[in-house]
């Protein structure tokens, strides 16, 4: 079985920061905005190197989204950064009218998504943002799994002309994506080939899916693992092809089971290849304070939860 090596735990937000810094050097049209969370978003290097291309808006996310839309008029490529909660729910209508409906080339860069920002609790966590963003016509929705993939995605979305929601997080997680792996928007990444079950994971749950697949292999269960970093547009062909082979699927995400990756997969399969599916996701609940590990365990978002879901879904075949 293929080995995926964790080259050292890093946070995905630092991958974003590294990507933004590189863009600052390579793309003169890239500008950045932040609503008083520069340190949390790892934007300081970009700011130090390009002070004139950075806009500190203060604690005013609505104005930040509107300004981002306006900056595109004049050819800029704005990267607007804040916590996922404040980057989506708080400013949904600003994103909807001034960015999505207006077709503006704005990159909404959302850190601290899901529950794994940890101790701050549910006011700062968000488990609804994928749903909110994927429902907006024309919005690209990306949820990256590790440092290298987040950096690559940050670079890739600058070359895409249109609104993008890029979702990443705070905790240090395994970094296993090859540094030179090209990020293709809307293209699934195959991690394991298998025959008994398909595990489709996104974001921080991808590493958990890898660990689950290794444990399943020891039990003689062959799991196919797919990293869906782009939830919209969804790589439907990759999903259909895999589930036709395995006959069942487990989806895994740090998000509510309502509105997330799992529902997008379920719709795709319902239309093309109906199959038993189990959802590793939060069950229509808010998060709470705790360490990332504790929260993953309590809300059923780790490799252990994936294993249980696999056993259940295989019985339903």
């Amino acid at each position: 079985m293929k080995k995926y090596t964790d080259t050292g735990k890093q946070d995905t937000r630092s991958g974003f920061g590294a990507g933004l810094t590189e863009l600052g050097r390579t793309n003169p049209n890239v500008v950045a905005l932040c609503a008083d969370l520069v340190g949390s978003l790892k934007m300081q290097d970009f700011i130090d190197e390009n002070p004139e291309r950075f806009f500190q808006v203060g604690i005013a996310e609505a104005n930040m989204m509107g300004m981002s839309a306006g900056l595109t008029i004049g050819g800029k490529i704005p990267f607007a950064g804040t916590f996922a909660n404040f980057a989506t729910g708080r400013v949904y209508d600003q994103i909807r009218q001034s960015i999505a409906y207006s077709g503006k080339n704005v990159k909404i860069c959302a850190s601290h998504s899901g529950v794994t920002l940890g101790e701050d609790g549910a006011t700062h966590q968000i488990l609804e943002d994928i749903g909110l963003m994927k429902m907006l016509p024309g919005m690209i929705v990306i949820n990256t799994c590790d440092f290298n993939q987040t950096k690559a995605a940050t670079l890739a979305i600058a070359d895409y002309d249109g609104p993008v929601y890029l979702r990443f997080g705070r905790p240090k997680v395994a970094n296993f994506t090859p540094e030179d792996q090209k990020f293709e928007i809307g293209k699934a990444v195959h991690l394991y080939d298998g025959n008994d079950v398909t595990i489709i994971a996104t974001g921080h749950l991808v590493w958990e899916a890898i660990e689950a697949a290794q444990k399943l292999n020891e039990k003689g269960i062959s799991a196919e693992v797919i990293n869906i970093h782009t939830i919209k547009p969804l790589d439907e062909q990759a999903i259909i092809k895999s589930v036709r082979k395995t006959g069942c699927v487990v989806t895994a995400e740090e998000h509510n089971f309502l509105g997330g990756l799992g529902e997008s997969v379920a719709r795709t399969l319902a239309e093309n290849n109906p199959a038993p599916q189990e959802f590793v996701a939060t069950q229509d609940t808010f998060g709470e304070s705790g360490t990332p590990e504790q929260l993953f365990e309590k809300y059923g978002l780790n490799a252990e939860a994936i294993l249980k879901a696999v056993e259940k879904v295989i019985r339903r075949k």
């Binding site: 806009f55 609505a62 104005n63 930040m64 509107g66 839309a69 306006g70």
Partner: protein, 281 residues
């Protein structure tokens, strides 16, 4: 253009507004009629430097953002009669498959529109982004906005107003249409907003007033003065007092025509008060 010619232009725009909303029995004539002189001054009176062909980027020209998008009839009429799209297209206002949506949008590619508006309070933020892009591009042109007075009840405006002064965005002229009316009644009865001049000044803006925003000369002179105040470290606010429904006697002194179209008889009456000057579409 001389004042009389601009007034004739405005009279034709008033006819366009009335005929657009009458045809589909919907739309917002009141605020549109009140801002007719303002739009005419911007696009025809030499206030804005704008290119005849539309380019979304708007480099090397002045830009305008309508934040209170519901007064689309006046915007559409002036854009069409300024050459952005065929005047005949005003016939399609609010109809299915039209580029002239109820509220302005870029979605159907209507030339002259740079952002969707209608959900209130968002225009100034967008304009500030465009103004900052102009500074980055070393483009000396200006960014103009229009807002309803009632619209200032939306909190996002005050985020933008604070940002603009704090960051010395001095290439923007934001005009507030002070007509004292909103859908549910007068601004005084719905939500009194106090002294707008003092509020903008307290936030650090350079504020001036146009006493009668339906007097073409006052509007031209006022906006010319506003232009001279740009580039001096402060954003410029113009508080422009207008009469909602101006030019149609029975639509004035009331909020009743904020979002209501005239019937056949009322249209005839209203048009008789605004004789054809440039030819109806």
């Amino acid at each position: 253009m001389e004042i009389k010619k601009l007034e004739d232009f405005a009279t034709q725009v008033r006819r366009d507004i009335l005929r657009q909303v009458h045809k589909v029995n919907s739309g917002h004539p009141g605020g549109s009629l009140g801002c007719t002189e303002f739009f005419t001054a911007l696009y025809q009176g030499g206030i804005m430097e704008h290119k005849p062909e539309f380019n979304m980027d708007g480099k090397d020209e002045d830009l305008f953002f309508l934040s209170n998008g519901h007064i689309s009839p006046v915007f559409y009429s002036v854009l069409a009669r300024s050459g952005y799209f065929p005047v005949d297209e005003l016939n399609t206002f609010r109809l299915i498959d039209s580029r002239l949506q109820g509220h302005p949008t870029t979605h159907e590619g209507l030339p002259g529109i740079r952002v969707a508006s209608g959900s209130l309070g968002q225009g100034m933020s967008v304009a500030l982004g465009a103004a900052q892009a102009k500074k980055l591009n070393k483009d000396k042109h200006l960014v103009y906005t229009l807002h309803g007075d009632g619209e200032l009840q939306e909190g996002q405006n005050w985020e933008a107003i604070m940002y603009a002064a704090g960051n010395k965005v001095d290439n923007i002229i934001s005009t507030v249409d002070v007509n004292g009316q909103q859908i549910d009644g007068s601004t005084e009865t719905v939500l009194p907003m106090g002294n707008l001049k003092a509020k903008f000044e307290a936030f650090g803006w350079d504020v001036m007033e146009i006493e009668d925003g339906n007097d073409m000369k006052q509007v031209i002179d006022g906006l010319t003065e506003a232009k001279s105040r740009t580039g001096k470290g402060k954003p410029v606010c113009v508080l422009m007092t207008t009469m909602m429904g101006n030019g149609v006697d029975f639509m004035m002194h009331t909020h009743a025509w904020h979002g209501k179209a005239p019937n056949d008889e009322q249209l005839e009456n209203a048009l008789s008060q605004n004789p054809e000057t440039l030819g109806d579409y």
